[in-house]
């Protein structure tokens, strides 16, 4: 979703920070269903110090990121509700809160990622827990329908949204749900979300981490990384597609390029090749497969390393290259195919990211996005590939939360009068 859906061919020179990334709040005041009173505001004070300032609050606080494949919803559950508030809380709102916080699955496709929950977070002066919920984008009409049935509009809240779907479904929200979306600029949310989440940490742990000794399977370990001086950094957001941003400061960033070979490609190809139906299933298959049966390695062609070009024998020379032969096509498993798809997409993203980092003269690359959710294989591979091919010059960084979710923290709060 969100910016991650911009793939190839998308031009190499993203919109320069500022102009194209102007906060998407220009349509905010349109329509009657929107009240400005419950606006929340984040004020970003340099340097890296985020002060959250709540002007006034009417719950519920929601944020939506409507991507190409997945919709990500964050919900702030206030834990410091006073008796008075409890009293005033309308039935509708209560039922929503109960429904969201007491379930981990919604309908057949909605899932709450309990492990990501941010507890006892202070947001805009309120203490509470931040919940992360996701469901497929194709269920968006049903979601709007539900909002309509539950008279969501009567709560007079603002539904902040980002991602391509914020544009695509805006009209549906308006006509079916009597809701006006507050659209926020995605790149802005992405950049600020990354910086913000690192500042608040993850339930006391560090949000940002890296893999030490990525090229050594035994000594490789996940270690916290201090993003105190984050600039410049390359931000690679892997959603259905991939967007790559060069961030020079919180207000100075640009979209460098994008590629259409992203999470959607992995999942889409896996569905076609293995008949799987969920991303989790595809990943699970991949974790049990052997891509070297599918891919043609350098050593398969040269019998070992290709010394003239300094290519190690284990490097992939041709993704799916062995599948040119019928015998080999007949001998691979679905798991092998899923693994090869994952390796192919991941290596390619690493390669493009590395070239962008070189062109932009940046040596820290932060990989975010839904593709990396529960996807250790890809993260380790990205860390490895970046380290290996840059001869240790580039460092791959990761965040505990998918940045899609991080957007919404911004979204929820971002309002300027």
């Amino acid at each position: 979703g969100a910016k991650g859906d911009q793939g190839a061919p998308c031009g190499s020179e993203g919109t320069a920070g500022g102009s194209g990334c102007a906060p998407g709040n220009r349509d905010r005041r349109r329509g009657n269903g929107l009240r400005l009173a419950p606006a929340q505001l984040f004020l970003f004070h340099p340097p890296q110090q985020f002060t959250l300032c709540l002007l006034s609050a009417v719950f519920p606080w929601f944020g939506l990121d409507i991507g190409g494949t997945l919709v990500k919803l964050v919900y702030f559950e206030p834990k410091d509700i006073t008796a008075e508030e409890e009293e005033e809380e309308v039935e509708n709102l209560k039922s929503i809160r109960k429904y969201l916080t007491s379930n981990v699955a919604y309908g057949s496709t909605g899932i709450r990622d309990v492990h990501l929950e941010l507890r006892e977070l202070t947001l805009c002066g309120r203490k509470g827990n931040l919940h992360f919920i996701r469901f497929p984008t194709h269920d968006m009409p049903a979601f709007i329908q539900m909002g309509s049935e539950k008279h969501f509009s009567s709560l007079h809240t603002t539904l902040c949204a980002t991602g391509g779907g914020a544009y695509k479904f805006e009209q549906d929200f308006r006509t079916m749900g009597d809701l006006e979306l507050c659209k926020l600029d995605e790149l802005d949310c992405l950049v600020k979300g990354v910086l913000y989440i690192d500042s608040v940490g993850f339930n006391g742990r560090s949000e940002c981490y890296y893999f030490e000794n990525p090229t050594d399977a035994e000594r490789c370990q996940k270690l916290p990384f201090n993003l105190e001086n984050p600039y410049p950094l390359l931000l690679v957001n892997i959603g259905s597609g991939v967007s790559i941003l060069a961030v020079y400061s919180k207000d100075n960033y640009k979209r460098v390029t994008g590629t259409s070979l992203g999470g959607g490609t992995f999942f889409g190809l896996c569905c076609l090749l293995t008949g799987c139906s969920t991303f989790e299933e595809a990943l699970e298959m991949a974790s049990h497969g052997d891509s070297t049966k599918v891919d043609k390695l350098v050593r398969d062609i040269y019998g070992g390393d290709y010394e003239r070009f300094g290519l190690p024998g284990w490097a992939v020379a041709s993704s799916f290259g062995n599948m040119m032969s019928k015998e080999k096509r007949d001998s691979v498993s679905k798991e092998d195919l899923a693994r090869a798809t994952l390796i192919t997409i991941t290596n390619n993203i690493g390669s493009i990211a590395r070239m962008c980092a070189l062109n932009e003269n940046i040596n820290r690359v932060v990989f975010v996005g839904n593709f990396l959710r529960i996807n250790t294989i890809s993260m380790r591979l990205l860390a490895y590939a970046l380290d290996y091919w840059s001869k240790g010059q580039l460092k791959a960084l990761f965040l505990e939360h998918e940045v899609k979710f991080l957007f919404k923290i911004c979204l929820m709060a971002k309002y300027k009068s």
């Binding site: 597609g241 259409s260 139906s277 041709s318 799916f320 019928k326």
Partner: protein, 720 residues
């Protein structure tokens, strides 16, 4: 890719045969160097002492066997590797060194097989080194080697003029995987990156998705598909364009992003198309990132993914244009498929110092580029996948840009580009078709003593006819189509069927007749006043054709020039035998010599039509010198120099001439239709030039705004 090479035997007088063979991931390329015996017409002066000169022919013509070197490249599918080895075995000649040089993946894979089958030790060569060597070679030696692909244009292939400086460039080789190599000079290149997503991915993944086994069939599927059914576009995510980022709604947001469901069926065509876009875009993007990092703007694409496939050339071109915002051009090579094989050959032939030679594409033996037309392609595609051929003839001297060209990088020899100009193309193809029977008859008649002359002439007719038909459908098959390439192809085809010089007897006769008139012509010229003589000399240069002095004004300029100081040295490109050279060129040469101008007379190395050849010119000059003291002393004092052009074409390409203008040449004279009109009409030189011809073709006269038999007399003085 595997390339082998047999070291030539060192035995004197033997015929070294070099046979490099290449085996790609899927296709085997067999390259072999052979010596070709073919007939050539030789002329030899008689010893005339004590003979009746008047009744003897001027010189003796004999048809001899000549041995020249030729490079052959053919390709076929890997599965035929054993057949390939049998072929090599059968053709091994005089190999004393029992080592075969091999390179690339196939060299490892087939090492044992080769050693067993041929009884030779496999000596491996680096494949990329060979590839780059081959690339440099074709960029240097083959005109119109490079082209850009243009979508939706009448001429899909836009051929580029060979630039004298070919470096630096980026070579993106898309085989099973992708290699990106930066080439800085003949021997300096660097692998700067690569990608595993390449042709093997398209083929392998495509085969899995569509159950289609063949690469070509996958491309066929792709050309019929709709990727938007499988890909998630920006508009699928945003509902339209993404204005904040300036992304059009039709851009692909996520390849295969719509196939993230187990319930829906997708058509093979749509999946193949989506895969093609995914891979082409990815490669284009990486290539642009590398080009940007290394500040390069020339990217040549090669490898089997590209090779002759308009579909992939189109998608790669689109991708490069998109990602570079039009700053980088995707370029392709006509003989890209043979680079490795050519390089391997050169590598093996290093002790021969290949730079002392130059090479010319043999149009008769080369199959040319494939058509893009869907109607012709299925059959031809399959055929050319197996029988695609390239032949190159070795010329015994290096050819270079004539230093007198004002700007070699923008010099285009040909006056009309028939690839571009459909009307002109139709006209000339018809012209050559209509003339074909006559040419075949003349060829047969030129060898009355040969029993199979008729049969060979018919074979020639058939072959050239087929070439013309191919060119009607695929005008781009051999680079830019021009009158010159049509003429050259005809010569190559004639040679192929042992008609090395159908005009030899005609030339012999005409030279004899003209020589007899030489003295009287000189006498009458000498009796004229100065100004009249200059007119008459120029008139003579135009070979006494019907003469319409329409160009008088220009000639006045020439006359004015002659009143000034003499030229230091004139370089004259001669045209026809007989009257033209003897009664036209020589009196003119004589006049220049008398003025104190040195003269270099350049004639073709090999025969073409009735053009005077270098060896004929030697005899003719000798005979004239015997009659004329001016010519005689000039020869003796080396004020008159006879040289060869290195060409066997009725036309003239000054960018590949054997002539190096020494002696401060300050006048170039080019005469005849082929040299001064079909080619070089617009050529700009550093020095003064005279271009003379009589237009013997009404269509062309019309094109140039004149009448048939009108005279072209272009005297040009370079701008200061």
């Amino acid at each position: 890719k595997m390339l082998c090479h047999f070291s030539p035997s060192g035995a004197a007088g033997s015929t070294p045969v070099k046979i490099p063979a290449g085996a790609g991931g899927s296709l085997t390329k067999l390259a072999y160097y052979s010596t070709v015996q073919h007939k050539v017409a030789r002329v030899r002066s008689f010893d005339h002492s004590g003979k009746d000169i008047d009744n003897e022919p001027l010189y003796e013509i004999s048809v001899q066997e000549e041995i020249t070197a030729r490079l052959h490249f053919i390709k076929f599918e890997n599965t035929y590797i054993e057949t390939c080895l049998d072929f090599i075995k059968d053709h091994l000649v005089n190999t004393e060194t029992k080592v075969i040089k091999a390179t690339g993946g196939g060299a490892y894979k087939f090492k044992d097989l080769i050693e067993k089958k041929l009884g030779l030790k496999v000596d491996k060569e680096d494949v990329m080194t060979c590839l780059i060597k081959g690339c440099n070679f074709v960029l240097r030696n083959i005109p119109h080697e490079v082209f850009a692909y243009q979508k939706d244009s009448d001429t899909e292939f836009r051929f580029q003029t060979n630039h004298p400086n070919i470096f630096p460039y980026l070579l993106v080789n898309i085989g099973s995987g992708v290699s990106i190599v930066k080439v800085e000079s003949e021997d300096k290149f660097e692998w700067i990156g690569g990608s595993s997503i390449g042709g093997g991915t398209f083929w392998g993944l495509g085969a899995l998705l569509t159950k289609t086994k063949k690469f070509d069939e996958l491309l066929q599927l792709a050309s019929k598909g709709q990727h938007t059914n499988v890909d998630m576009l920006v508009k699928d995510v945003y509902g339209g364009a993404c204005q904040t980022l300036g992304l059009s709604g039709n851009l692909i947001a996520s390849s295969f992003g719509k196939s993230t469901t187990a319930d829906k069926e997708f058509s093979k065509e749509d999946m193949a198309k989506s895969l093609l876009h995914m891979i082409s875009n990815d490669i284009g993007q990486l290539a642009c990132l590398h080009a940007k990092l290394h500040n390069l703007d020339k990217i040549y694409f090669g490898g089997f993914f590209i090779r002759g496939h308009p579909v992939t050339m189109r998608t790669i071109t689109y991708s490069i244009n998109f990602f570079s915002k039009g700053e980088v051009q995707a370029l392709f090579l006509r003989h890209e498929g043979y680079l490795g094989a050519i390089g391997a050959f050169l590598k093996g032939a290093e002790q021969d110092n290949p730079n002392q030679y130059s090479w010319g594409e043999n149009y008769a033996g080369s199959s040319g580029l494939m058509s893009t037309s869907p109607d012709v392609s299925p059959l031809q595609r399959t055929r050319s996948g197996t029988f695609d051929m390239l032949e190159m003839d070795r010329l015994e001297r290096p050819l270079v840009n004539l230093p007198l060209l004002k700007d070699p990088s923008t010099y285009i020899p040909d006056t009309v580009d028939l690839t571009d100009d459909a009307m002109a193309r139709k006209y000339w193809l018809t012209c050559f078709e209509e003339a074909l029977d006559g040419v075949a008859k003349r060829a047969a008649a030129s060898q009355p003593d040969s029993v199979d002359a008729q049969e060979r002439a018919e074979k020639f007719r058939q072959k050239y006819w087929n070439k013309l038909q191919t060119l009607r459908q695929q005008p781009f098959a051999y680079g830019t189509l021009t009158v010159r390439s049509l003429l050259d192809t005809r010569e190559h085809c004639l040679n192929e069927f042992s008609f090395p010089d159908p005009y030899s007897k005609v030339k012999q006769k005409e030279n004899g007749i003209a020589l007899k008139c030489f003295q009287s012509v000189i006498e009458s010229l000498d009796s004229l006043g100065w100004e009249e003589r200059q007119f008459a000399l120029v008139k003579g240069l135009l070979a006494g054709n019907v003469f319409d002095w329409g160009a008088k004004a220009v000639s006045d300029q020439w006359l004015e020039r002659l009143k000034g100081p003499p030229h230091k040295c004139a370089l004259i490109f001669a045209d026809n035998s007989g009257i033209d050279i003897i009664l036209g060129v020589f009196p003119f040469v004589r006049e220049l010599l008398s003025r104190g101008t040195e003269v270099i007379l350049a004639c073709n190395s090999g025969p073409a039509l009735n053009d005077v050849t270098y060896s004929e010119s030697l005899i003719v000059t000798e005979r004239i010198a015997a009659m004329d003291p001016v010519i005689h002393s000039a020869l003796r004092d080396e004020k008159l120099l006879l040289v060869q052009t290195g060409s066997s074409s009725p036309c003239l390409d000054l960018s590949v001439a054997a002539v190096v203008a020494e002696r401060q040449t300050d006048l170039v004279v080019i005469e005849g239709m082929g040299r001064a009109i079909h080619t070089n009409y617009y050529a700009v030189l550093r020095c003064e030039s005279l271009k003379l011809a009589v237009i013997k073709n009404s269509w062309l006269a019309d094109r140039l705004g004149g009448k048939i038999f009108s005279v072209i007399f272009k005297y040009e003085v370079p701008c200061k």
